[in-house]
């Protein structure tokens, strides 16, 4: 009979939807690896319980009603409504949903509006087709200037680059830029703030330190997404958007074969996560892969020093 079969399906829906969720250790991927992520998970868990109950009650009520009132020769009761009940249900729903929402807003505020202090590590994240690029401000703590005309220009010298461009234009030369020589167009000639900037294709951070990730896009809109850190931010051309997070020390079963970037030993790696693109950016959107390496503080310091030394040497080589 239709009524019983429909009720059965609705019951199966409730059980099939809720039980697998309730049985999981965590609704979201583990390990949860950031401080604000704890609050996000709590908020999601709370939402799950509230809506899970509402969902179950509604579907089961439907199931119950279709069985109880299936046509068996009874006469329907002429009921047009019940305004008081309606109003109280509406008020209840409103208070519940809005309260739930307001409870979670502190997470959002911290994520976007937190002011960095002297301990915050600022890292620039650039999304481009189809890779990620990270830049650290180096010993001087200041990011070098960016100029798109310096993309692919190995000298990092703007005046030189413009001169060469004029010459090439006059000679009617149309050339292809090897972007890789200066991926985001930093002015890094000696004496500029950019000379000591550190460049990586992976995101390397110490554990238990506030990070301010300054997210930007170079060509189209991308979005930096790290599941375990519960971090996501659109990388928009023309904008620079800051998000704040802190990686916490959590146990993680690391992959057997770890290939950390240079100057990092596998044993120094506390956590390792994949970093994905979360905004359609073209044909290789699905393959725009990078990684996050969370290191112990001393290992991070060693890495930073080694990278600094590399950068200084590279600058000296350029000057020669």
């Amino acid at each position: 009979m239709s009524a019983f079969f429909l009720a059965f399906l609705l019951l199966a829906l409730v059980l099939g939807g809720i039980i697998p969720m309730a049985m999981r250790d965590s609704i979201l991927p583990q390990p949860l690896a950031s401080e604000h992520g704890k609050y996000i998970d709590d908020q999601i868990r709370l939402t799950f319980w509230i809506v899970g109950i509402i969902f179950s009650l509604a579907q089961l009520a439907l199931a119950y009603l279709v069985i109880k009132y299936r046509s068996r020769g009874q006469k329907a009761t002429y009921v047009e409504g019940h305004t008081k009940f309606e109003v109280s249900m509406a008020a209840l729903a409103g208070i519940l949903f809005v309260s739930l929402n307001l409870m979670g807003q502190h997470i959002w505020a911290g994520y976007h509006l937190k002011k960095p202090d002297e301990n915050t590590i600022k890292i620039e994240c650039t999304g481009m087709q189809f890779e990620w690029h990270f830049r650290y401000p180096g010993k001087d703590g200041v990011f070098g200037n960016l100029d798109n005309r310096l993309i692919g220009v190995e000298s990092g010298d703007l005046a030189k680059a413009l001169e060469k461009e004029e010459k090439d234009k006059a000679a009617g030369k149309l050339y292809k830029t090897d972007r890789a020589k200066n991926l985001v167009g930093v002015e890094w000639k000696s004496g500029t703030p950019g000379a000591d900037d550190i460049h990586t294709s992976d995101l390397i951070i110490p554990v238990d330190r506030e990070i301010e990730l300054q997210v930007r896009g170079q060509d189209v809109i991308h979005s930096v997404f790290v599941r375990e850190l519960r971090v996501k931010q659109d990388a928009v051309p023309g904008l620079r958007v800051n998000v704040h997070f802190k990686a916490i020390n959590v146990p993680q079963k690391l992959p057997e074969k770890l290939s950390p970037p240079q100057h990092i030993d596998a044993q120094d790696v506390v956590n390792y996560f994949e970093l994905a693109c979360a905004e359609l950016c073209g044909s290789n959107h699905y393959a725009m892969k990078s990684h996050v390496w969370v290191l112990k503080q001393d290992a991070y310091d060693r890495w930073l020093k080694a990278m600094n030394d590399d950068v200084v040497k590279a600058a000296e080589d350029r000057d020669k």
Partner: protein, 600 residues
């Protein structure tokens, strides 16, 4: 009369023009709202077929990923192209045509007692512009570069700059421009249609048909038309500006500092300055959010109407249902930023949008509660139309509930652009809406075609589809919870290359194939019934509204030259003291005893 409107001469007679006789004026360039309704519906049905086929193709690709010695099923940008067209076709050519243009056109004038729409020639124009829009969209498949590949949302700079796609790759050439042009045409058609619906509802109601006696389906179409009128204009502007950025070098959406391998990388200049990609998102979603209500509201109205009919009970809380639909419509205009939480817009703005988004849960909850209240203490008949309507209620709850996660800005940090969102909008907008359309088909087919559809096949269609859609979209919530991003055509990441993910994808794909196959039963049933279905009587469902007072199919001028006079509301079922378990709206006043209406 030169305006095309129908004139009212005397008290009971309605002056009409003589019906056309030639095939082309009767069935092609017809001004008859009934023919136009069927034309819209047919366009929607064909588009449904195209859109679903596209989805099966890219779903097959996902469950047969490239690997050792295994070539990918779809090449190059095909995955993104099919995905883009799937979304565009389904949102515009199915969910905005069939519920409003299809059923609204056919049924609304009849349900209010009118002979036709207020502007029949404009009505015909709306359909043919919609058809032109459809042809333009389909043409995108056949132009150099093929169909667009920037998603149904088409965000710039990706959609605005042809060089954003590597040379030789498909998806960003003429196809993208045709996409924008098609949408612009669709906007014009919708605006014209919306005006027609609004004027018709306000001006052409028969005597006694007060606003509060109108069926909820009429309210739904009326409110939807208002939403359409206010939102489609903004989409048209957004599309126009995008077209200008693409072809005339303007910079509405394109900022200064962009570097593309296909432009500066080959020595060309970036010629744009001062624009904002986020501006496009604001314009798009200012339309885009009301659009989802344009898609669902008609189905809500149809489902309310059908549930009352087959529960043999008045709709529970008629006035609340009207106010709830109006509230959903109004609130729908002030929440668009919840599509943009992670976009880089001001975090303060995000907080405002987030709190406002929660309020939409209130009228939605009222409506759900009232559908349950209508079934409660009813006398339920499980026809195919009723089953799909009940299915709608279940799907509306399921789809709505995932919205509570997404409307909160911090949880959305995680959920944005994952399959969790895909599961949400498919359940609430795609499937629930479609259940309303299908319910309406089973309900009004006898009236429209003069023949009944096969009820057994209808029930089979319901069971298969109801199970099928849940099998498709419930697992999507889980893969979304695992962080599976949207619009991914491959599995490069370790977290995606797990047995669970591949099994989920395979399950979803097989469920999709099964569900699509079930629709063959539906279409087969329709086609068969058109020629061999049992002849339909005037009122096979013992309904109360005006469409059940006339022959099936209705005569050309609906009411046979006599304007109906309405004495009752639309849901007088099982009235205590009444002769039958339903009182038609045109029955004499005494049919409902004076004391039947209790205060509540």
């Amino acid at each position: 009369m030169s305006s095309g409107a129908v004139g009212v001469d005397e008290e009971h007679e309605v002056h009409v023009h003589t019906p056309p006789t030639s095939f082309i004026w009767k069935y092609v360039f017809s001004t008859d709202h009934k023919v136009i309704g069927i034309q819209y519906y047919t366009l929607g049905l064909i588009s449904m077929f195209v859109g679903v086929t596209l989805s099966l193709l890219f779903r097959w690709h996902l469950s047969h990923p490239a690997g050792e010695g295994v070539k990918p099923f779809l090449e190059g940008n095909q995955y993104l192209q099919y995905l883009t067209m799937h979304g565009t076709i389904l949102v515009f050519m199915v969910l905005t045509t069939a519920p409003l243009g299809g059923f609204g056109n056919y049924v609304l004038p009849i349900q209010i007692g009118a002979v036709d729409m207020a502007f029949p020639r404009l009505n015909m124009l709306s359909f043919w512009i919609t058809f032109a829009s459809w042809v333009t969209l389909m043409a995108a498949f056949f132009v150099p570069g093929g169909a667009p590949s920037a998603g149904w949302t088409g965000y710039p700079p990706l959609s605005a700059v042809p060089e954003a796609v590597p040379e030789g790759a498909t998806g960003m050439n003429w196809g993208q421009s045709l996409w924008v042009l098609s949408i612009a045409l669709f906007c014009i058609a919708s605006l014209v249609g919306a005006i027609n619906f609004i004027v018709t509802t306000l001006d052409l109601r028969a005597r006694g048909m007060t606003l509060m006696r109108m069926p909820l389906s009429v309210w739904a179409w009326f409110l939807t038309a208002i939403i359409a009128l206010l939102s489609f204009a903004v989409l048209m502007i957004g599309g126009l500006l995008l077209l200008l950025d693409r072809h005339l070098g303007t910079s509405f959406f394109l900022p200064n500092d962009v570097w593309m391998a296909g432009i500066q990388g080959v020595g060309k200049e970036w010629s744009h300055k001062g624009g904002s990609p986020i501006l496009y998102q604001h314009l798009f979603w200012f339309f885009g959010h009301p659009e989802v209500y344009i898609a669902i509201l008609p189905s809500m109205g149809i489902v309310s109407h059908i549930i009352a009919n087959f529960a043999r009970k008045p709709i529970f809380g008629y006035k609340a249902m009207v106010y709830a639909m109006a509230a959903i419509g109004f609130l729908g205009f002030i929440v668009w930023g919840h599509h943009m939480f992670q976009s880089g817009m001001s975090p303060y703005l995000a907080i405002a949008f987030s709190v406002l988004t929660m309020t939409i849960g209130v009228p939605s909850a009222i409506k759900t509660f009232n559908w349950l209240g209508t079934i409660w203490k009813g006398d339920l008949k499980f026809t195919a139309a009723m089953l799909f309507s009940l299915g709608f209620v279940s799907l509306f709850v399921s789809g709505g509930i995932s919205g509570i996660f997404l409307g909160q800005s911090a949880p959305d940090i995680y959920f944005h652009d994952t399959y969790f969102v895909v599961a949400h909008f498919h359940l609430i907008m795609g499937v629930a809406s479609l259940f309303g359309i299908v319910a309406g088909t089973y309900y009004w087919f006898p009236k429209m075609m003069g023949r009944c559809m096969n009820e057994t096949l209808g029930k089979l269609h319901f069971w298969g589809t109801f199970i099928g859609v849940y099998m498709i979209f419930m697992p999507m919530h889980f893969i979304g919870l695992s962080g599976h991003p949207r619009r991914y055509s491959g599995f490069e990441f370790d977290f995606l290359n797990t047995p669970e993910m591949h099994i989920s994808h395979t399950l979803i794909t097989h469920a999709a194939i099964f569900t699509a196959a079930m629709q063959i039963i539906f279409v087969g049933n329709m086609l068969w019934s058109l020629v061999a279905g049992k002849k339909a009587t005037e009122n096979p469902w013992e309904g109360t509204s005006l469409e059940w007072t006339m022959a099936s199919p209705p005569p050309w001028d609906n009411f046979g030259g006599k304007e109906p006079v309405v004495h009752h509301g639309a849901y007088e079922y099982s009235v205590p003291g009444a002769a039958k378990d339903y009182v038609m709206q045109t029955d004499p006043p005494e049919a409902v005893p004076a004391n039947a209406h209790q205060p509540h």
